[in-house]
Symmetry: D2
Subunit: 363 residues, 4 copies
Amino acid sequence: MSNTIGTIFRLTTFGESHGFALGGVIDGCPAGLEIDPDFIQSELYRRSPGQSKIVTQRKEGDKVEFLSGIYEGKTTGTPIGFIIRNENQKSQDYDHLQDAYRPSHADYTYDKKYGIRDHNGGGRASARATVSSVAGGAIAKLLLKKYGIQISAYTSQVGDVKLLKNYKDLDFSKTESNAVRCPDELIAETMIKKIEQVRKEGDTIGGVITCVVQNVPAGLGEPVFDKLHADLGKAMLGINAAKGFEIGSGFEGVKMRGSEHNDGIIPDPFPKEKGGVIFKSNNSGGVLGGISNGDDIYFRVAFKPVATIMQEQETINSKLEAVKLAGKGRHDPCVLPRAVPIVEAMTAMIIADHLLRNRSSKI
Amino acid sequence: MSNTIGTIFRLTTFGESHGFALGGVIDGCPAGLEIDPDFIQSELYRRSPGQSKIVTQRKEGDKVEFLSGIYEGKTTGTPIGFIIRNENQKSQDYDHLQDAYRPSHADYTYDKKYGIRDHNGGGRASARATVSSVAGGAIAKLLLKKYGIQISAYTSQVGDVKLLKNYKDLDFSKTESNAVRCPDELIAETMIKKIEQVRKEGDTIGGVITCVVQNVPAGLGEPVFDKLHADLGKAMLGINAAKGFEIGSGFEGVKMRGSEHNDGIIPDPFPKEKGGVIFKSNNSGGVLGGISNGDDIYFRVAFKPVATIMQEQETINSKLEAVKLAGKGRHDPCVLPRAVPIVEAMTAMIIADHLLRNRSSKI
Amino acid sequence: MSNTIGTIFRLTTFGESHGFALGGVIDGCPAGLEIDPDFIQSELYRRSPGQSKIVTQRKEGDKVEFLSGIYEGKTTGTPIGFIIRNENQKSQDYDHLQDAYRPSHADYTYDKKYGIRDHNGGGRASARATVSSVAGGAIAKLLLKKYGIQISAYTSQVGDVKLLKNYKDLDFSKTESNAVRCPDELIAETMIKKIEQVRKEGDTIGGVITCVVQNVPAGLGEPVFDKLHADLGKAMLGINAAKGFEIGSGFEGVKMRGSEHNDGIIPDPFPKEKGGVIFKSNNSGGVLGGISNGDDIYFRVAFKPVATIMQEQETINSKLEAVKLAGKGRHDPCVLPRAVPIVEAMTAMIIADHLLRNRSSKI
Amino acid sequence: MSNTIGTIFRLTTFGESHGFALGGVIDGCPAGLEIDPDFIQSELYRRSPGQSKIVTQRKEGDKVEFLSGIYEGKTTGTPIGFIIRNENQKSQDYDHLQDAYRPSHADYTYDKKYGIRDHNGGGRASARATVSSVAGGAIAKLLLKKYGIQISAYTSQVGDVKLLKNYKDLDFSKTESNAVRCPDELIAETMIKKIEQVRKEGDTIGGVITCVVQNVPAGLGEPVFDKLHADLGKAMLGINAAKGFEIGSGFEGVKMRGSEHNDGIIPDPFPKEKGGVIFKSNNSGGVLGGISNGDDIYFRVAFKPVATIMQEQETINSKLEAVKLAGKGRHDPCVLPRAVPIVEAMTAMIIADHLLRNRSSKI
């Protein structure tokens, strides 16, 4: 099950960065959903390399080809198979890695686990594998649109450059207006400069993506182990380079008293719109006891600096001998800009899955 | 599946805080494991209320009764069913809640999801439900002991009182020596004072638990969606009051450059002990590409302040009318001390599950 | 997962025949279902030993105790935990088996699989373990009643005594009127005599149970692997002593031509009642392409003769030495009468699960 | 999960008979397995149409293309994605079906379930979808070969032409020597004549496939719900047109006494070969209590006559009006010859899955 996510709305993926193709199967998407292929393709392009100076200049040709499950523009309820061909593989870029374990990459651990390793471009551990998740997420987004649910992720920190504004003070329509995908243009500019500087030094840098989900009905999420934020957390931590997840008040909230942290509830003067309640604050991040409360869901995901750097590093080869290694080829100096659509895609699949799961909560 | 965790080593739980009993079924534990009932019971007592002044004084009588799957002191490979009876339920303590939604509790969301709610003590959303996880985790710990794997969690922050030492400079044998379960006695004392002060004010406070897993073999964890740290993260975020999870460098690591963050590898002069490699640093937290690398796994879990406070709060009742509410009965001013064994238990089950899953990684 | 059945409506069971208790957890039952404890208990009594001369005279005290998930007589949506205590265990009846593998029992295979075996009464492999399924099935039946779905199983063959009538010519209300649970009283009498004769000879006999499910809406079942009849077949083959399953025309239908076998469709003159269609025949058994068509579902389950006989048999002990063995204690000469409620219970859980799964088939 | 089978060795499939492509993802195949592409392709050709006069003359071009998970001829432990392009689709053959429900086909039930239907060639319900299972099964067979496990299926009945010999008296190497895949040449000839006659009449006929699995180690299968024969039964009943499954003595065995039916056990004079035991008979079909006993596993699968006949039949269209319908195009007069490799493939996947699951049975 390692390559499957979801209970009802389920995505199973396959593919290595330099194999013939990547792809997946979306099972459990309800029948009758109109599929907009342009929207799906545009989501894939948001994840593509080469879209700006601050991301890798590899060409990956992220063209998705749907093979089943769609008939006359609508889902049929049967599984949606899709592939994305690999092009421009340039795997000679990786010949120097054939026998060396790149520091902080999965080379060593895959070898230990499987006793065999496809060293080209990181194989299955490559960020390229997220292309299948973006395709699955795009279908999930189309489903969520039917319910008015809106997902907006953005880069909120790069290194020590941090966007301090609350998400409510941001204009999400500006997220796509700059290369780093930060809706505050001034901060975006600083972030971009930071990434360019790091890139020039042959180095890389980490950051944080914030994601906001609006208009989620109250009641999504399952008690105890499959809490909504636990499933969101797992999905985010499955993204390459993710090292942390926090929802609502998160790690900062631990310093608060209950009397400050608790979100008071007051009757809604316009009960039709919000289900009759207003939360005076939202430290919970839209989830109480693992179940959505109808308020905005927001969370943050920490990404470490990309492991492939152009500087020389100490490591070992498979004979356990010390070797020196420096990155070659075209790599991202910062994963954040291209991770924004991935965070959205994973979020969309989790929310879609819980939306469908919740259809069985009452008799 | 909402009440099941694990793929091969699986725990399914049931039970409300004030029903007849809680319990669960552990399925997939290999046959032939010696069961030490005293050890299991001692794990449950670590989670019990009433063990010190800084936790709730409720008596819960956490006596576990194993019903199946164990024969002549060993597991038989068949499911291990167990129950923990509820005693001293005092559910009149909750009569005032029958019609009111406690702020930042799951009352409102359960009602929205299910249209029905057992208001006694939080029902299924109560922290009492974690008792079943501790029982499951105790069995998992016995399994891990066979492989020399050691799990050590401790309270590393209460409010703004933070233990700054690296886990390597701590003596885990001291964790149980104080009421807050912090292995540094001086910091522990300050934490305890902080909690006592908060309790006197009828308030509550949050904190952070750090968990270290030592001696995990390289190779555990599955690529893409079931990464080892993604499953750990989900398990932690499923614990009551958890709002964040980070592994290795976590949220702090986003400020680092790749050249600082990468964990260099050097040959091991004593290759028998560590599998032939030494990592010069451990920013990864023992997991690379979602798979354990043989180094220590360590992560941190953020817990919000307990929602039940003795002070009066604004909220609404099920008729959506404004009401005032103050906590009654016996509640924890801080969830941390009792959450330490829960963090360990959830960790043990995830590691045990991946240990068994990994038996199929190679032909 | 070996001890769990179902995807949304899920039962996980535990328990050995001579341990402390058996039981299970029903997860995924929607909230708001009224629970009739008398009905559930009456289902368990239908499975109980000692109810007539043709079944075992063991006393098992099949009293079910619900521990969670029910509040003020209704399901709450949280897991329903339950136990059934073992009483009157008389495990000295099994001392002679401690070291011998009973022919055609699971003794040998459990030993090979687990390397350890609870020899008392067959342990987990005992038919006693089905008591948990009957409890789960009783809850499922209450759910199905809300949708007017009716499940009727009956003994249709004992040895060579076969009920030849079509199920449409039977009065299911008479099934419970006799000890063998055959709704045709004349045939029932012959079956009972056959069983009594076999019992006197210290021998056992097999038979067939037919099950009819009426009023199932069209659309239940999932394509390809989780076809409705595939899930029914698996559930039936999981019952102790089951060796075969056939739906609709089954094994007899292989002799037919397509022109005879195909079920013609004609418009329904009273379209409100049956969804607008009438099938001229029902060789399909109510399932087409794995999905219910709205017609009656009917299938047959073959049960082998009970393995425990009072006659002496050749076998070996765990040292692989030849030994002679004869049954002791109180055993069923024929599994059929008590298997009728088990077949119904398993059927109810499968149909309930697919009813809930189908809630996500359309947008 | 409707399109996924297996717990550790898992296949997820997609694809309609007249879409762009079919395919699937094999997840959980251990790393290090040598892949023989010629063997896999030859398995697909065994299922292909057009291979003899008694099967459909459609050309389907069953060329499998592996996209991932294989590196330098060996599995890497990562998911194996594959596709089979559809060619020669001739979907105009199905224009007359656009608005009519073919009797005993899934047209009506898919429409009821999904509210939308791809009428071309049966869409997802087409037997063409089994091509993905054959690809998955071929990989499973390569895995089982490592353990010496051999799967041999054959046509044992066509209409009333029945092969009465015990499988032990057959030479399986002759199965592929004739068009109907029956290892007894004389009976095969009669079967072929029967099918040709039926085809000339524009009609179809059913039959039975027997499958024998040899050299399975004792211990495979899980207690209670995931019994080995229950999982085999589910897999077989998921094959198009399957209506029944029986293992060992099956439906005939119900007439036997326990004293006849029980398989006596005697010590093995050559204990190295068979694990120390010899079963004097094999009415159990190699499975006791749901777990393999080391003896041959054998079972039978009943297939109904193909629903598409060239004769005119009564049915209705989607407006619920009566219409007449006769088959057009190229269809199988009997599903059996091409179902033999499908039965083997599904069997191989189930055995492979349980082989891997059993790696966790003991500590």
